[in-house]
């Protein structure tokens, strides 16, 4: 019988941690891109575009990420597509994070005083020009701390992808538990590794918030 030393457990978990990091980065980048598109539609002049994107956001915030994963996993398969777990995981996490990021950023765009919109429309700027040159540069400043804060939610969200069989940190933890019968140690280590990823991001987000608030006050 093969026996597992503590180092074996840690080493295997660290190897799986790569996939958690990779999936988080991909979801954050793609979710951010999609979120930006959703944001543009969500703040557009056309009421029907705002309604559709509101429903999109409501849909992804009001349903479990787990169900979104299952639907991506089984839904695409219905169209005859062979869906590997990583693809379903990436797709569901991208849509999920885009809904949250769009809503976070909408708050930041709406925090920009109305007068800025009016002034730029007096200059005959189009909607895209207003966004590009006037609104977004200012909104970006407010948006950075909560966006970094949300990246923590994405890292934690990737844990759910273990359920459809994507072998990242959580799945590796379950597999190692099944081999070693040491759930207490293994899950404590898994939790610690997530903590090591997320805590610096949380702290960074907090410090950014303080920094931007301080410069806002004078």
């Amino acid at each position: 019988m093969i026996s597992f030393s503590l180092w074996d457990i840690v080493r295997n978990l660290l190897l799986a941690l790569r996939w958690t990091v990779l999936l988080s980065l991909a979801s954050f980048a793609l979710g951010g891109l999609l979120g930006l598109i959703v944001l543009f539609l969500r703040t557009s002049k056309h009421a029907w575009l705002r309604t559709i994107t509101k429903m999109y956001i409501e849909l992804f915030q009001g349903t479990p990420l787990l169900m979104q994963l299952f639907l991506a996993f089984f839904g695409l398969a219905l169209f005859g597509l062979e869906v590997p777990a990583w693809l379903a995981a990436g797709l569901a996490l991208t849509c999920w994070s885009s809904a949250y990021l769009a809503e976070i950023w909408r708050g930041c765009v709406e925090a920009i005083p109305r007068g800025q919109w009016e002034a730029s429309s007096c200059l005959a700027m189009s909607y895209m020009q207003q966004m590009r040159h006037v609104i977004l540069p200012q909104a970006l400043r407010i948006a950075i701390p909560p966006t970094v804060g949300f990246s923590v939610q994405i890292v934690k969200g990737t844990a759910v992808t273990s359920i459809i069989g994507f072998v990242e940190l959580s799945k590796a933890g379950t597999m190692i538990t099944n081999a070693t019968f040491q759930p207490f140690t293994v899950y404590a280590l898994v939790a610690l590794m997530y903590f090591a990823l997320c805590w610096p991001l949380s702290k960074y987000s907090q410090s950014l918030e303080r920094k931007f608030n301080a410069s806002h006050r004078h």
Partner: protein, 226 residues
């Protein structure tokens, strides 16, 4: 070969589905109330409690907010029996939800407490109220009123997150969907229906919490912030 949808298929096992919805409601009802209670206690301890308690509360909040709910659930359900604590899956699920919501609501409520004007507390002191009376009657109600929308959102997030409790065989809604698709192989339809039910539950819960806020605080609370 094309796929023929059968949207009536998820209703093949109505009893399982109904039980799933009821268990999900039970989870959030118990988890929500106890979780907010823990949050209030933790926020009290962090702002006015004994000094030695504060680092412990801080550690609790940081640890829970920076690890996935799924891992907290697994640690409680699979890990605790390893050191001799036996609990049922339902107890584990509720415990995990209470611990999770407690940490998030602690931070939310603390922000509300910080926003209560200093003069209010001094006024309470001048009426010879004890510190606990001041917290209960002067600080907590306006603090909760201010952060009620944020707290409501967090409760909805925890309800939606409870779907992963199916992984430790709690027979809630996601478990029902898994069960049904395991019987009739209609996975897409089952998951679509259960997702729709979750959406209805989330919207209903948000309305319920808004009404509860209006009732508790006597006047309409601020509309949900972005």
């Amino acid at each position: 070969m094309s796929y023929h949808f059968d949207f009536l298929a998820p209703f093949d096992y109505p009893a399982v589905l109904i039980k799933g919805v009821l268990v999900t409601i039970e989870l959030i009802a118990i988890g929500g109330v106890l979780g907010i209670a823990v949050g209030i206690f933790a926020a009290w301890a962090k702002t006015q409690g004994p000094r030695w308690l504060r680092p412990l509360i801080n550690a609790y909040v940081e640890l829970i907010r920076n690890t996935p709910f799924l891992i907290q659930l697994f640690f409680i359900f699979f890990g605790l029996p390893g050191i001799g604590l036996q609990i049922t899956e339902m107890e584990a699920a509720i415990l995990a939800m209470v611990i999770n919501l407690g940490a998030y609501s602690c931070e939310i409520i603390r922000a509300g407490i910080a926003a209560v004007a200093r003069g209010q507390i001094e006024a309470g002191l001048s009426l010879a109220m004890t510190r606990l009376q001041i917290f209960r009657h002067v600080i907590l109600p306006p603090a909760l009123q201010k952060i009620w929308p944020a707290l409501s959102s967090q409760v909805v997030i925890v309800m939606v997150g409870s779907a992963v409790c199916s992984q430790i065989a709690v027979e809630e809604l996601a478990y029902a969907a898994n069960f049904i698709q395991g019987r009739n192989f209609r996975s897409f339809e089952s998951y679509l229906l259960s997702t729709a039910i979750y959406l209805v539950l989330a919207i209903g819960l948000r309305q319920l919490l808004r009404m509860l806020g209006n009732w508790l605080f006597g006047r309409p609370v601020a509309k949900e912030a972005a």
